[in-house]
């Protein structure tokens, strides 16, 4: 059959008209997928923390029940986390929502240095968490710490000695605070850990929640913005505000042309985590991001108009863009340069005509 079938097939295939490469869509989906992978990696790390937590918190063998569970098989410890929810750069409402249905009164970490903010919250199991992982970052002091808060009721003491293969309990500080078990990887000095422990052990759940409020985002951070702290200083308290990172500013023109919004995908849910040889396989878990509209199509067109007026048709302003919609008639937009020495510029855009006016701030 090879007489001419190959040639016929090849020439037939060569005549297939090829549509234009959808580079914008490929770029956007690639970035979204990378963000999702990053989330999954963080989730895997946090799961490992919970495993370590159990060893550290109990000293001897431990089992977690419900959907957060560890069982001991010879010398290998495994953990089952069948579902979890997570939020990146949580706002106050999202943070409250994450901890509201915890099975234990949550004493949050307190005594962290000024300028610290919460980067992630994971809660597992998803609806009524018996374990929370809260990650903090402080750009000024270089602090990066993830606290694991576990409901002691799901930890059973006694049994076979739990030995870790990939992580050691010796790498984690542990203490009790109120009705919870607290675990903190040894990424902070012992004196600092002692100070945090003392602060948490004398605090109340409500008091720690109040102390956490200033550490939460006041605007929706889309992508991975670097200037969140500065943007929060400019963002008005009224109306909805969102900050888009530099990569996302590159897709503004395309989204505006297509009449599409910027979606907020910071909140994610993972269920049905399968296990392979006792280890969670997040790649095959069922996961999805909540997709709420952060900046409506009209707002995207307004940002495009600002970028055009600021930089011409190219639209790459080497900046992050803060968006706020105080009312239906106008949008407020700030371009926040990545370079700390450059000035933040403020604009007001008419929602109907998209006329751009520079503002003092």
């Amino acid at each position: 059959m090879s007489f001419d079938f190959s040639a016929k097939g090849r020439s037939a295939r060569a005549t297939i008209a090829v549509p234009e490469v959808p580079l914008n869509a490929i770029r956007a989906r690639s970035r979204a997928a990378r963000a999702h992978e990053r989330t999954m990696r963080i989730a895997a790390v946090c799961t490992a923390l919970v495993v370590v937590a159990l060893g550290a918190g109990t000293g001897a063998g431990a089992k977690l029940y419900s959907t957060v569970r560890v069982w001991v098989s010879g010398e290998k410890a495994s953990i089952t986390v069948s579902s979890f929810d997570g939020v990146r750069e949580p706002t106050s409402a999202e943070f409250h929502d994450a901890i509201a249905h915890a099975t234990f009164p949550v004493v949050l970490p307190v005594g962290l240095p000024p300028g610290t903010h919460v980067t992630h919250v994971f809660s597992t199991p998803a609806r009524h968490p018996s374990a929370l992982v809260i990650s903090y970052v402080n750009d000024r002091t270089g602090l990066k710490a993830s606290f694991v808060l576990v409901d002691p009721k799901v930890v059973q003491l006694g049994g076979t000695l739990l030995r870790m293969q990939s992580a050691s309990p010796r790498d984690v500080y542990d203490w009790r605070a109120g009705g919870e078990l607290v675990l903190l990887p040894k990424t902070v000095p012992a004196a600092e850990a002692d100070r945090l422990k003392a602060a948490m052990q004398t605090a109340t759940p409500d008091g720690t929640l109040r102390a956490t409020e200033p550490m939460l985002a006041t605007i929706s951070a889309l992508g991975g913005p670097n200037r969140l702290e500065l943007a929060e200083r400019y963002a008005p308290r009224n109306g909805r505000s969102a900050l888009i990172d530099r990569n996302q500013t590159r897709s503004v023109a395309a989204l505006a042309a297509q009449g599409r919004p910027f979606l907020d995908m910071r909140v994610f849910h993972v269920t049905d985590v399968p296990y392979v040889n006792g280890a969670p396989d997040y790649a095959r878990a069922h996961g999805w991001n909540a997709r709420t509209v952060a900046i409506p199509p009209g707002g995207v067109r307004a940002i495009a108009a600002v970028l055009r007026s600021a930089r011409g048709a190219g639209g790459d302003c080497a900046c992050e863009v803060l968006f706020n919609q105080p009312n239906a008639a106008a949008y407020r937009i700030w371009t926040i340069p990545l370079s700390p020495s450059a000035d933040v510029k403020a604009y007001e855009v008419d929602a109907r005509t998209l006329a751009v006016v520079s503002r003092s701030r």
């Binding site: 059959m1 020439s11 037939a12 295939r13 490929i26 690639s30 990378r34």
Partner: protein
């Protein structure tokens, strides 16, 4: 294997340079689309599969272990994504005429019709073997099946296509064979 893109573009993209990655995506897109269209038999589904493949290239080219591994890697991705869209959307019984493109050659349409009669797993090996000139060992690696499985599928596909494409059997073949015997 056939090269999807010049090695220097692949090498540059592996460094993570965003512009180079996008150049690579632009270079491989036509091949991805045409291969997907050939195996799924539908332009819309082919576009989905090709786009998904290019998203993976865009996202993961930085972690590719070597430039030489690119061709086999991309074949695997395109075939896997094509299989995925085909599972979600069973292929049409008759391939749409527009797949054949602007060609006036009616035999092109007959090629698509013939391919469409094959079960998907046989169509995949036929396309890779006859259109892409992959060896059966390479096809086995791309489709992640055993080598004998490829040979079996190929044999069954040939049997089926033999009847379907009889009209296109090369009528000069016996004469050429005879000529060759005399010359040799």
């Amino acid at each position: 294997m056939e090269r999807w893109a010049p090695a220097e573009i692949v090498s540059a993209a592996r460094t993570g340079d965003e512009a180079a990655v996008e150049r690579l995506v632009g270079a491989v897109w036509p091949g991805c689309f045409r291969l997907a269209a050939t195996v799924v038999g539908d332009r819309g589904l082919a576009q989905d599969a090709a786009q998904e493949a290019c998203v993976i290239v865009h996202r993961k080219i930085r972690s590719l272990r070597s430039t030489e591994a690119f061709d086999a890697w991309l074949y695997r991705i395109v075939m896997r994504e094509s299989a995925r869209v085909r599972r979600r959307n069973p292929a049409p019984a008759e391939p749409p005429a527009e797949i054949a493109g602007a060609s006036d050659d009616t035999s092109a349409l007959d090629v698509w019709r013939a391919l469409a009669t094959l079960p998907p797993e046989q169509r995949d090996v036929v396309v890779l073997f006859y259109f892409d000139d992959l060896k059966s060992e390479e096809i086995a690696a791309v489709l992640r099946v055993r080598h004998p499985t490829v040979r079996t599928r190929l044999a069954r596909a040939r049997e089926r296509l033999r009847g379907l494409l009889d009209d296109y059997r090369d009528e000069t073949a016996p004469a050429r064979r005879e000529m060759k015997q005399h010359v040799v």
